[in-house]
Symmetry: C2
Subunit: 300 residues, 2 copies
């Protein structure tokens, strides 16, 4: 399963980076291969200063070895070996009307001293962070997520949509990071879902990513915007940074397993602002966004 | 002691904000009083868009009530009442040749069910974060710190200088946040240091702040700088954000005790950049700074 899934994410990285380059029309992804001293490594691909994409990364990694102490504590296990691989992407467009997007699909194995698998699971998801809210964009993104889920189990979309809203919650701000999407973790073998079924589900979500995001980019990338709207985007990107550095378990996992810092923190936006006590104007589009973020909606 | 120290930090806030306004010559501190639902509150003063200071806060707070669960765990105590007050300041100047400065002086009490003090201590410090390194500035800052310490105990400066280097360590970057200064915590009553002696020590450090920082500001605030130097400052400010959101216990304490978010996060810089895998040029001033941050120096 680990080879099958690692092959899949390698191909998916190629597909996604090729498509995003063609949408951008100017910038190309810069590739860095890296090795983790304790075992494994990754292929980082970053795009910067494009026509459409100001900064973004579409990274894969496969790491293995002894599970670090802090992760043993986190998973509540002893001194075991592990393997983890995944694709992580974050795209920060230049135009404030184009939402930021994040996606991640990952697979994890733990072994006993004889090298037998004692636990294995998939995880992942994809979620959208608009700076200005076009309801039709949120609906489109969620529709594609729902369609990818529904083939496998009609409960998946409502369950994983809810988990996404719960996970990407900026607790100290009392608001969601964005308008959500899907989030699932610890997808383990059951009587009805074998690992191969989970593989089919996770890869169907992975395959849906470009369809979920690219039409939104194309609709919004050429809209005119003002400096005030750009400032708002940079201020809201500050919330994105706060989530990723204070709350995000993926970032924490990367830091704790001695992943490559620049690959982990590629998720941070290129230009960010923090203004003291900045408030959206009453009745404005900016205020409407905040209200939706404070009470996640059903989009489909 | 709590009244005595709270009076002190109220006056120190007035002294510091008045002096910084006079150095800036344009912007004024904006004051916000806030109340904590569970008990206490604070007086936040923030300056923005000045001639010299792009963003900064000089805040006092005094909070009390039941110690929140997460802090009970942190301190290794049960369900107790607490009182905490302190002054926290972070100043982000506009000119990349003027360092960012941070300082904090605080006092903490814990009570048993009868309201008797069962534990009490002071903590605090001050530290400097340059974007371009002028050795004489680091030496000046540390000399003032040392002088404030030496009257009380010749061991204080070397001990608290070292703790500062250890505390403001951006572990995931393998570098210090800045060139350090002083950091002390859990300053409790001993045979040779009564709480009144600690009070004298902590207030002497507090009184030394303006002398430690303002001459540096005055020397550097009118130097010409290029866009490249400004970009470098904004990129390095990214490291400041990373430290405060990933590692800083003060920020964590604020978030865990339900402090006022905008007062806690006033420490975040106004404009920040993250570029993928940005490296300082070989032999440049930027590279020299990084080398010093990777191996903290003795400045006096």
């Amino acid at each position: 399963m680990k080879d099958q899934f690692y092959n899949y994410i390698q191909q998916l990285q190629d597909t996604i980076t090729a498509k995003l380059e063609s949408v951008d029309g100017k910038a190309k992804f810069q590739e860095n291969l890296w090795q983790r001293p304790e075992g494994g490594g990754g292929r980082t691909r970053v795009i910067q200063n494009g026509n459409v994409f100001e900064k973004g990364g579409v990274n894969i990694s496969a790491v293995h070895g002894e599970l670090p102490k802090s992760m043993q504590h986190y998973f509540g296990v002893g001194n075991v070996d592990f393997f983890a691989c995944g694709l992580s992407l974050v795209i920060h467009p230049k135009n404030p009307f184009v939402p930021t997007v994040h996606a991640n699909w990952r697979y994890f194995e733990m072994y006993d001293k004889e090298g037998q698998i004692v636990d294995q699971w998939f995880g992942g998801g994809q979620d959208l962070t608009p700076y200005y809210l076009f309801d039709e964009d949120a609906k489109h993104f969620h529709s594609v997520c729902k369609r990818a889920c529904d083939t496998h189990n009609p409960e998946f979309y409502p369950t994983y949509k809810k988990r996404c809203d719960e996970y990407f919650w900026n607790a100290h701000r009392n608001e969601a990071r964005g308008v959500g999407g899907l989030f699932f973790d610890y997808c383990k073998q059951t009587d009805t879902m074998h690992m191969e079924d989970w593989y089919q589900f996770v890869t169907e979500v992975g395959d849906s990513f470009l369809e979920a995001y690219v039409p939104i980019v194309n609709r919004r990338k050429d809209l005119d915007y003002s400096q005030v709207q750009r400032d708002w985007q940079e201020i809201r990107r500050g919330r994105y940074v706060e989530f990723n550095l204070v709350h995000d378990k993926g970032t924490l996992f990367g830091l704790r397993t001695n992943g490559r810092i620049e690959s982990i923190l590629m998720s941070l936006p290129p230009h960010v602002q923090w203004r003291y006590d900045h408030q959206a104007e009453k009745g404005s589009e900016e205020e409407r966004l905040i209200k939706v973020l404070m009470e996640p909606k059903q989009w489909v």
